[in-house]
């Protein structure tokens, strides 16, 4: 017998023990009704990091769903996307001629530090929104805001505006305590205090693989109704959607935001919650680039894209786009002439270009989603048919944004999604971002936006929207591709979840069936 056997066996045994680890997942996973979870914690997975804790910098899907959880809004979206409903504000009055809004706050709304939400807090918040460096432009109609009493705020506008109620549901309309509760903005946003259903607890590894932990806010305005029901929300961001899918199937995630067809098709129909498609996906063409300055090329690209094919790989989640704006949103109307796939026309347009040099373009997109990856491959193949060579350039969402804002792109895929129940919401994105980024002429859109948002008449609004759609088709710097549903994966033991079409959802209403007894 050799001397070596014993130590070798001992080491192997240690390796085995170390390799096995112990413990079990947080959830019971499992499928079918009657599934339960061990703890009253909601673990959310998503691929997009938040854009910071300040509402001013909110633009991405991560922030859109997180900000309302922490801060609360004066108004919120109706779950079906048909309009707004009360939030911290129980009601509001609008006087179009006086250009004033009056908000009546709920008396039971409280910040996570225990102080009640007062008119002074809301008035302070309005000023912060208007003065914000990034999103202040959306609030430029606000002249002043004043608290007339502890629970009433009057907002004076520079012009008539019917867009404000929808704007107040946005993640940029975060309600802050007056003067940041005595803190500097840096201190405040490092550990924010809000009136939402949950309280900020920690934010680890800010960035593409961050983890945000939120705790129940006992001072939430619906606390009397038993909301929120969940004790802790943990948001885990990871660039890898397929990995999240595995984690969900393994019971380690209870909810996935931003579910696409590729992942959704691996789930049961109960688990995949698909709202109506109301997220537009557009292709931006940078007309400041020499080749793309030629409108013929831009139109040729539009005509060469087979939107039915793009939609077919994500059946049930995606429909072809008719214009650049999302559908299923109040006042959304298609352009006079919807997009058509016409290869011959596209080739003819290519021939009409002033400069007949071969075209090579980069296509930037957010690379964490497999459905986007599939889509861009199809676009590349389709554009190859008219002799446009496309180089794919994936990055993360923050980088896509900075490429867009710095004009560092040829073509960029982006989603001017509706996040509130009015089509003027995506129009405002396009107006302040997409159009300037691509070098498009914003004059008509600006005009029609003002017309549409100062009117209460749906016919006027519809006409303005149609004009905007037609203008977009004519300029072709922003091209509609598809309309998508941003779906959610929801574990069987999660109750009270309603998938809204606008990326955010009412986390306060979510309940978890937990294991009772031992």
């Amino acid at each position: 017998m050799n001397k070596w056997t014993k130590p070798a066996a001992a080491i192997a045994a240690v390796a085995l023990v170390a390799g096995c680890g112990s413990g079990t997942g947080t959830g019971t996973g499992g499928s079918g009704t009657g599934a339960v979870k061990a703890s009253n914690d909601l673990v959310i997975g998503r691929t997009v990091a938040v854009d910071g804790m300040s509402g001013d910098s909110c633009y991405g899907a991560g922030s859109i769903s997180t900000m309302p959880m922490i801060y609360g809004n004066l108004l919120t979206n109706k779950p079906d996307g048909s309009g707004v409903q009360p939030g911290i504000a129980a009601s509001y009055d609008y006087d179009a001629t006086a250009r004033t809004y009056t908000f009546h706050l709920r008396e039971d709304a409280g910040f996570s530090n225990g102080s009640p939400v007062t008119g002074a807090d809301v008035a302070f918040s309005f000023e912060q929104w208007r003065d914000g460096k990034t999103s202040g432009a959306y609030y430029d109609m606000i002249k002043s805001a004043e608290a007339t009493d502890a629970h009433t705020v009057v907002v004076h506008l520079t012009r008539a505006d019917t867009f404000l109620p929808a704007l107040l549901t946005w993640c940029t309309s975060t309600v802050y305590p007056d003067r940041y509760a005595g803190m500097t903005p840096e201190q405040f946003f490092a550990k924010p205090i809000g009136a939402g259903p949950f309280t900020f607890a920690s934010w680890q590894n800010p960035g593409p693989s961050e983890t945000i932990t939120l705790k129940k806010n006992p001072h939430y305005y619906d606390a009397a109704k038993g909301q929120p029901s969940i004790d802790t929300v943990v948001v885990k961001t990871s660039a890898d959607a397929s990995q999240q899918m595995l984690a969900f199937q393994g019971g380690q995630l209870d909810l996935i935001e931003g579910l696409t067809a590729d992942e959704g098709n691996q789930l049961t129909t109960e688990q995949a919650r698909i709202p109506k498609p109301s997220q537009a996906r557009d292709l931006m063409l940078n007309s400041k680039r020499p080749a793309l300055a030629d409108v013929n090329l831009r139109k040729a690209i539009s005509a060469a894209i087979d939107r039915n094919a793009l939609a077919s790989v994500q059946q049930g989640y995606v429909v072809p786009a008719e214009g650049i704006l999302p559908i299923n949103v109040p006042n959304s109307v298609p352009p006079t002439e919807p997009y058509t796939y016409d290869l011959a026309a596209a080739k003819a347009l290519m021939a009409q270009r002033a400069d007949q040099k071969p075209v090579t373009l980069t296509l930037g997109f957010e690379g964490s989603s497999s459905t986007v990856k599939t889509m861009v491959q199809l676009i590349r193949d389709q554009l190859a048919q008219i002799g446009v060579e496309v180089t794919l350039k994936p990055s993360d969402s923050a980088t896509v944004y900075s490429q867009g804002s710095s004009g560092d792109f040829d073509m960029l895929i982006s989603d001017p999604s509706a996040i509130s129940p009015t089509v003027f919401d995506p129009i405002s994105f396009v107006l302040t971002a997409w159009y300037p980024w691509t070098g498009a002429d914003t004059a008509l859109m600006k005009d029609k936006f003002t017309v549409g948002t100062s009117s209460t008449d749906d016919a006027v609004k519809d006409a303005a929207v149609r004009a905007i759609q037609d203008d977009a088709r004519a300029q072709s710097t922003v091209i509609g591709l598809v309309n998508m549903s941003t779906a959610f994966a929801v574990a069987d033991y999660v109750e009270g979840f309603t998938a809204t079409p606008f990326l955010s959802y009412d986390a306060a209403a979510i309940r978890i069936r937990i294991r009772t007894g031992s």
Binding site: S242, M245, Q249, A309, V313, S370, Q377, D381, L392, P394
Partner: protein, 280 residues
């Protein structure tokens, strides 16, 4: 890439010519490479052709490795990808080997500042983990096969240079090399006649492990979107694309992974066989 001094498969030089493993490995690689050029006719499918009506077909007699999310034939794509991966991995090992042999010989013969400079440069290069060096170079030069080759060349020559320099330093003291030099044989001749034969078996072993490493780095880069870009077809990139479907449509990313492993084994066989032959 760093060739490590000890690699499994190296140490054991058994009796025998090594022909059988050498042949097996070489035939495997040759077949794979040949098939990559004829992937279309061989499989009956265009590797680039998307067919949205034939998405996610499981492996069948029609589609040996199934089809992917765009209805493309995975077998045809795995074969075509061999035409991308194999030459790049091979060059990613051979180029640095050649550079390293030349620089190592230079450092060995030229005492003084030149030799010192080469060795200091080697120290510097070795301060970077090879894969990180690769990422940085790809970052500076942009993604693609060319950047990969530059990165491989910059990172992996050091091992060969050290090896050859060591042999040169040892041999230059030996009488027969002195005699050869005295007899008017140039440095090149001495290098070819006396140094290379001494350094070759080990260089071959290094190169073999470098090929495997180069392949896995190339695949890793492409997997992360920093290597071969679509429409180029590459195994790592295929694995990345198939990853979302791993649970239900496993073949999309498992097959290219197996191909990488197959190449690793084939290279190991060749290296083992060659080494046995060279050491006889």
């Amino acid at each position: 890439m760093v060739a490590l001094v000890q690699v499994p498969g190296r140490r054991r030089v058994r009796r025998g010519s090594g022909s059988a493993p050498l042949l097996t490995g070489a035939v495997l690689l040759a077949l794979l490479l040949a098939a990559s050029f004829a992937a279309g006719p061989l499989t009956g499918h265009d590797p680039a052709l998307t067919d949205l009506t034939a998405r996610f077909r499981p492996p069948t007699a029609e589609h040996w490795f199934g089809t992917d999310q765009l209805g493309r034939d995975v077998f045809a794509r795995v074969l075509v990808a061999a035409g991308t991966d194999l030459p790049l991995a091979l060059l990613g090992a051979v180029i640095p080997a050649l550079i390293g042999i030349v620089l190592g010989a230079l450092a060995g013969y030229a005492r003084g500042w030149l030799g010192t400079a080469v060795m200091r440069l080697a120290d510097l290069i070795q301060a970077f983990p090879s894969y990180i060096l690769l990422i940085v170079l790809v970052f500076l030069l942009g993604p693609g096969g060319g950047s990969f080759l530059v990165g491989a060349a910059v990172g992996a020559w050091v091992t060969y240079a050290r090896l050859v320099r060591g042999v040169v330093l040892r041999l230059r003291e030996l009488d027969y090399v002195r005699a050869a030099q005295a007899a008017g044989l140039g440095h090149t001749r001495v290098l070819l006649r006396h140094v290379l034969p001494n350094a070759l078996p080990q260089a071959v072993v290094y190169a073999a492990s470098d090929i495997v490493l180069a392949l896995s780095y190339l695949a890793a880069l492409s997997y992360l979107g920093l290597g071969i870009q679509a429409p180029g077809i590459e195994w790592g990139q295929m694995i990345a694309e198939g990853q979302p479907f791993l649970r239900n449509q496993w073949w999309v990313s498992v097959m290219p992974g197996l191909a990488i492993i197959l190449v690793g084994v084939a290279v190991r066989l060749i290296a083992g066989g060659l080494e046995r032959r060279l050491q006889r």
